[in-house]
C-alpha cells in the first residue's frame, strides 16, 4: 500500500507515492538516494540517521515517511548555506572532529538544531545535546570543541553584522 506524500526536502517541494510502512530513512536512502544520512542501528539508539523535521532533530530510522506530510525535512545535504559549508561543517573540519565520519552527519544535524535553539551553549549543554549520538572514533572532545567554536563564530558574525 502506498500513500501520497508531499513535503519540503532541503528546500525543494516534493510529491511522491511512498509505501506506507517505509521509514524516512528508507525513503531518503533507497528512493531519493540521499546517502549522507547514515544507517547505523535502525533501532533509534545510535543517532547516525538524525535529520531535522520542522527544525526538530529526529531519528529517521524510527520515523514513518508518511508522517512527514506537509513537513520541512532537512538532511545533511541541505546543511550547506548558499553552496558554502555551514560554519558547523567548517568547524568540524578545523577542529579535527571527523575520524571515520560515519556519525558526523547525525552529529552535525543535532548540533545545528542545538545552535538554532541556543546560539551560545555551554560545554555541558553541548554534551547533553549530543549524548544520544554515538561516536566510536573521536572520544567526543573535538566534536564538543567544534560545536562551541561554531557557536562562537556565528555569534561573532551576528555581532559584526549588527
Amino acid at each position: 500500500m502506498t500513500q501520497l506524500l508531499t513535503l519540503t526536502l532541503n528546500g525543494d517541494e516534493l510529491e511522491l507515492e511512498v509505501p506506507a510502512n517505509w521509514t524516512l530513512l528508507q525513503l531518503l536512502k533507497d528512493e531519493l538516494e540521499l546517502i549522507g544520512t547514515k544507517d547505523g542501528c535502525r533501532q533509534g539508539t545510535c543517532g547516525s540517521c538524525t535529520v531535522l523535521v520542522d527544525g526538530i532533530p529526529i531519528r529517521a530510522c524510527l520515523q514513518l515517511a508518511i508522517r512527514c506530510v506537509g513537513k520541512r525535512v532537512t538532511t545533511i545535504e541541505g546543511l550547506k548555506v548558499d553552496g558554502k559549508l555551514h560554519h558547523l561543517q567548517q568547524a568540524f573540519i578545523d577542529a579535527g572532529a571527523v575520524q571515520c565520519g560515519y556519525c558526523t552527519p547525525g552529529m552535525l544535524m543535532m548540533a545545528s538544531a542545538l545552535l538554532d535553539e541556543n546560539p551560545s551553549p555551554t560545554a555541558m549543554q553541548v554534551r547533553e545535546a549530543l549524548a544520544g549520538n554515538l561516536c566510536r572514533c573521536t572520544g567526543y572532545n573535538r566534536i564538543i570543541d567544534a560545536v562551541l567554536a561554531a557557536a562562537n563564530d556565528s555569534l561573532n558574525i551576528s555581532e559584526a553584522s549588527v
Binding site: C41, C46, Q89, L134
Partner: protein, 788 residues
Amino acid sequence: MADSATRAESGSFRYVGKPVTRGESVDKVTGAWIYGTDFKTQGMLHAKVLRSPYPHARIVSIEVGRARQLKGVRAVITGADVPFRFGSAVQDEPFLARGKVRFSGEAVAAVAAVNEEIAREAIDLIDVEYDELPAVFNSLQAMEADAPLVHEDIEQYQIEGAFTSYPRTNIISHTKIRRGDIERGFDDSDFVYEDVFSTQYIHTCPMEPHNAVAQVGADGGITLWSSTQAPYNFVRDLGNAFGVPYNQVRVICTGVGGGFGSKSYLRTEPLTVALAMHTNGAPVRYATTRDEEFTACSSKHPTHLTFKTGVKKNGTIVARKITSVFNTGGYADTGPLVSRNGAFSGTGPYRIPNVWIDSYCVYTNNPLGGAFRGFGVPQLTWAHESQMDMIAHRLGIDPVEIRMRNLFDPGDSTCTGEVLDVSVGVKDTLRRAVEVSAYEKPVEPSRTSTLVRGRGLATMHKLTNTPSTSNAIIKMHQDGSVNLLCSSLEIGQGIYTALRQMVAERLGIEIEHVRISPPDTSYTPFDQSTSASRSVFHMGNAMMRAADNLTEKLCQMAAPLLECSSDLVEYREGAVWQKNSNTFLSTRDIIQGHFGPRGATVQGDGSFTPPSAKPDKETGQTPKASAFWMYATQVADVEVDLETGRISVLRVVAAHDAGKIINPNDAKGQIEGGVVQGVGATLLEEMVVEDGIVTNPSFAEYKIPSAMDIPEIVPVFVETHHTGGPYGAKGLGEPVLAPTSPAIANAIFNATGARITSLPITPEKVLQALRENDSSQPTGGETIENQQ
C-alpha cells in the same frame, strides 16, 4: 641519543610533523563520502541470513522449498550449496553451517531477493530442525578432558602459525614462550605472588555495520565492494576458499565507517559471494543488522589470566609465569594469532630473565572472538599492570619506582629474546606522564566526603604484525602532480593525510599535488592490512622507496636531455638539476622530452618488508619478533562514590612513544578516541553471554561511552627516532586504549583500597570489594610464598 636525533631533524620539514588538515573531511561533513552501507549498483539484490538460535546443535534437516517459491526471491542457499571453508589462521569455518552449528548466531541459510522485506519474509519460511548437543561455554571447562568437543576434526584443518594444536580437544592453539629457568627464578625470588585476572567480551561497535556487495561475472570473476581494512586478505582468503586465481577476485574498497580490527578478515563476505554465484550475475548486497553485529561478528576475546611473579625485596622482577586462556567461541577466526600476540607482549615492557608463558586459544559454543584494536595486548596489559601495582603495594614500594626499576633500557631484551636496540622510549613515557600529570602532587580532594579521589598509572608495550609487506606505486603526471597507489585504507585514523604529507615531503612537491587513489585490488598494489598500527611505518617505507625509484627514473630520463651522464644530475623539489649548476628540467620538460609532446606518466615502485625471524615453536624465541615496539604510560585520576560505587574518570594523561609524529593533530585524535574506548572497556562495556546467548545485542543495552562519559584527556608524545621508520616514525593506533583500564583500576585502589581484578569495573564490584576490605586485610586474596 634518539632524542637529539629527533631534535636535529625537527623544524627542517615542510609537511612532516605538521598538523595538516585532512582532505577527506569535506566529503565526510557534507555526506558525500560513500561508505559500504551507502553503496548501490544496478540491479542489486538484497540478502538476509537465517542464524542458529542454538549454541550447539546438529542440523537434522533444512527445508527451503517454500522460501524458494516466494515471489521476488532469486536465490536460497544452505551449507550444502557451498562446500567451502575459510579462516585467517585456521580454515575451520564453513560459509554456511554444515552438519552442525557451533554458536548461536551462526549462519545456516541465506536468501537473495529483490528487496530486504521479501528476503526477510523468505527467511521466515525456511524450516530447520535441530537436535541440541551438549555445549561448553566456559573456556577453562572447555580445556577439560571430558568437555564436549566443538570441532571433532581439528587435524583435518589447514592451520598456519607458530603454535601447537591438539586434536580431540578444544585447544586450537597453544603458544609457548620459554626463557631462562623459571623454577630457579622463583627459587631466587624473595617473594612470589600469584594473582588471577579476567577480561570480558567487548564488541568493536563500528558505527557502520559490516556489509558487502558481491557480483559474479559470466567468466567466474568475483567483484566485491567492501567496507574493509584489508582488501588483500579478502583476495587471498576468497581465492583460497573458492579455488580461483587471485586475479579473479577484485575487491573495491568503499568508505569505512569504523573498523577497529573487525573489518580485517572475512565475515559477511563469503556468504554474500556465495549468494551472488546463484543469481545469474545479479549483484547481491548484504549488511548486518545491529543485532547481528553483536551476535555474529567478532568481539574482543574474553580472557582468564594467571600471573605468577617472583620479585626481590627491592621490587626487581626475577621470574614471571603466565597462563592465558582466550575464549574464541565456535570458530578460531583470528583467535590463535590474538592469543599469540598477547603472549609476546605478556610480560610487559620489563626486563625479566626467567619467563614461562602458556597462551591457549580455546573453542567454546560462545560467539566469536576476533581482532580488536590491540590484538590480545590490552588483555595482558590489564593483568601485568594491575599486578605491578599489587606487588608494589605488598612490598611498600611506589608504583613509579617499581616500574623504573624494571622497565626496558636500550640493550635489554623482550621475553622472546629480541634485543631492543632502537627507539626504546618507555622510561621516557613514564617520566613524562609523571611530570605532566603532576603525579607526586595529591589529587585535589572532592568537596563531598563520600566522593573519594585517587590516581593510578599503567605502562605497556606493543608489537606489530611481523613480517608483513606493503607495496606502493607513485604515478607522476607530466605536470608534476602525483597519485599514490596503495591499499592502505582511510578508516578514520588519518592515514591518507599522513601518507600525503610524507609523499609531498619526500618528493619536495606541494601537498595539494598528492592524491591517494582509492584502494581497488585491480589497480592498487598489495598491502597486508590496515591494522596492527602498521600503516605509517610499512606503507611509509614503501612510499619512500617508490618516491626514490620515481626520482631515479626521472634522473635517467633527464640526463640525456641535459647532455650529461646520470650521475651528474639530481632530483630536487619537482625538477632534475645538473649538479653544481643552475640548469634544471621540470618534470614536464623531462616527460615530454623523453616521451614526446603528448607526454606520459612515470611510475615509481616501492616495496617494504621489515627484517624478521620466525619464532621457535617450542620456546617462542626469535631475534626479531616485531618490526618496531610502541610504548605508553597513562595516568588516570578517578573519583569513586563510596555509597553507590559509581566511578568517574576525571582525567587521563597519555604519554606515548610512537616514534616521530607525522601529524600531531591526527595523532592526538588517536589518543583521545582510544582513551575513551579504554574508559568504555573499563567501566561500561560488556557483551553479556549467558549459556551461549548474547543477552544485550543493542546499543540500548550495551553501552558505549557517550559525550557524557568522557574525561579530560592530555596527550603527550615522546618522539624517539626509529632508524628503520619513515622520518623516524613507528605506530600509534592500538596502544592508546591498553593502559587505560589498569590505570583506572590502580587509581580506584589508590582512592579506596578496593582492588578489582576482573573487567569491567562495575559499581557492584567496587561496593563488594569495599565491604570485603572492611572485614579483612586490604590486599586480601593473593598467595605469598617464600616470605621471609
